[in-house]
Amino acid sequence: MVDTILDQFTEAIRQAISRRRPVRIRGSGSKDFYGGASQGEVLDTTAYRGVIDYAPEELVITARAGTPLAEIEAALAVNGQMLPFEPPHFGPRATLGGCVAAGLSGPRRASLGAVRDFVLGIQMMDGKADPLRFGGQVMKNVAGYDVSRLMAGSLGTLGLILEVSLKVLPRPKDEATLQFECDEVLALQKMNRWAGAPLPISATCYHDQVLTLRLSGAKAAVQAAHAKLGGQALVAGEEFWRGIREQSANFFRSSAPLWRLSLPSTAVLDLPGKQLIEWGGALRWVFTEAEPEVVRAAAEQLHGQATLFRGATKPQSVFHPLPKPLMAVHRRIKHAFDPHGIFNLGRMYADF
């Protein structure tokens, strides 16, 4: 069964090469909105699913790319563990492969790390339909170039992800969500100052004069930090963070283009429109009708970058343009993996 699916993938890639027609790698399609519009026939990964190996005491899970994230998270939850980067699903059937390819992380990113920090190994098919394996199921591994991490966030432009091994972590024993009223400048200051102190902060969010933060850890540690920081406890904390992660919170109800700005955490951003801050200040969500050039210039001025995350009309590139020498390296890397240029054309930049 599994072999049959692999044969189908091989065949689809070979066909694409011989017909010179690109393929569009797709899991459930929950992140179809993200990135440039890619061309080609859909290569559906959802049938290639299932957890292959999970040893809770090793803190490692290995699963096929089409495995629903929900299935993986449920398996981990049974053993009191979690995906540390708290990925957004953006749909009920979001897959592991899509999660790694999109490289999007959730609220815990600033404290524990991103998808790429937890990818240990990958099995993939390159643009010649050759199955390749990089990394493994161990945490320390410096043999060969780190291709597994390179695949995180590559949006399927380098190859078809077949299998992923991830490092997982125990769920915190206790969590609490606190809220503080303050202005943006003070909120940024607080988030940065607290992140530099030994406090068990696992998520932050600022919007509309309210700073919300989550504490995670041993019960006594959460209680002590709560006592030290003060603030109003929010009972529906879990729901709050889910709303931020999945963008179902009220803030995200808007028809304006949604920009995602990655900035140094202390930067103060000046753009028209409404803003929500996450990751201790390092991530800003902005709904704005401002021209793409204006948004990008604002980000660059602060040594950051801007991505058009959701928007009806897409500019030439939804991702921040790269300097010329860097773009040249990107093109050559793309060519090394996908010499015939068949994977997800246009998803990242105009020609790849």
Binding site: A55, A110, K140, Q223, H320
Partner: protein, 484 residues
Amino acid sequence: MKSDRLIKRLREILPADSVLTEPEDLKPYESDGLTAYRKLPMLTVIPETEAQVQQILRACHAAGVPVVARGSGTGLSGGALPLENGVLLSLAKLSRILHVDPLGRTARVQPGVRNLAISEAAAPHQLYYAPDPSSQIICSIGGNVAENSGGVHCLKYGLTVNNILALRVVTIEGDILELGSTALDSAGYDLLALMTGSEGMLGVITEVTVKLLPKPERAQVLMAGFDDIEKAGAAVAAIISAGIIPAGLEMMDKLAIQAAEDFVHAGYPLEAEAILLCELDGTNEEVSEEIKRVHAILQSSGATSLRTANDEAERLKFWAGRKAAFPAVGRLAPDYYCMDGTIPRKRLGEVLARIREYSQHYGLRVANVFHAGDGNLHPLILYDANKPGELARVEAFGAKVLELSVEVGGTITGEHGVGVEKIDQMCVQFQPKELTLFHALKAAWDEQGLLNPGKAVPTLHRCAEYGAMHVHQGQVKFPGIPRF
């Protein structure tokens, strides 16, 4: 001669005393921490600025001369071994800490800055740089990035790749690339990850921005002795299954315990077959709670002795034995060879049993030091280089251990890198098509193959020879590279 023209060009770029060509001046650069491999470079250059690095690389590119970059030269796999027809590029003089941002918790430093110097610069702000390879007093951050160095706190705090934010890299063509940023996410491919651990094969690092973490409020260590190393392994699994991620979790076997105790008198139980050191850090409350839980787990796992360090002095004493394990073992025999495989922890018992078998087969003693939390095993094979035949046996033994690591689902190198040392075992870990992709990736950065050529990734030809030789192991000398 082309080398004369290159030297003339380099002397235009650099002051005269920064271009070394005399054998006695080149001698200090003949090897890195893997001293069994030595070679004098054609010449050594010691730039002081990024602009000079750029010009040097352009000159070498134009002349078609290979370049080997070097930090402090503490690497253990021969990654910085010079080439006799190549330039050795020392980054030791790019040693300034450019900026520490206490609020944003980052430090921007030049590649020659020592690992520990970063934490020292951050200390007034109660911050530190987490990765702590054992050579942290002298090893450079540029070298740490090139090797993706680890340390004893990897399970909780990650490797170098998880603790850096941005790099400035000069390509062999002299272009400057900025990879990553002080923001967390960057557009495009994660070239920051690709560059980390690339062993100087893709570009030369001229600036590193690292993440700084708040110093934990408290750290405390427990030491448990076991009469059976498998019980110690089971205790590790039990701690992690209980949802505890220790800051450090180290295991030593009997020979290592005895050597360390004899050397530094750390208070280790000499009768134990294995000891576990388990350090917990975090807020005061967190540590108190977890110490209690770990204590109970160790007890129920059959620990024959169990002590919690009472104060900072005792904590450091417990660690002193572990940190001195390599030199301590070094006192047991004229020479020792340090291995660096990583294995899935659940296979520990089986792997140690096989190592014991090999040890008997080859007639060589082994002490095992194990980063138990992350599965990184350092068997130290004891030998005497002056005894005829012992070298060949050590080589064969070492190769067996690395191949065993791959067989049980691990890797040939957890933190020391491939360099020249483990290049043949790469043929065991990777298939030809994977190695071909590695070569294509290198060519994407360095088409002519001028940056650290011959390291880290073997040619398919070499693997074919290794595979053939493998059949007749012990009878044929490996060609191509000198062996100790």
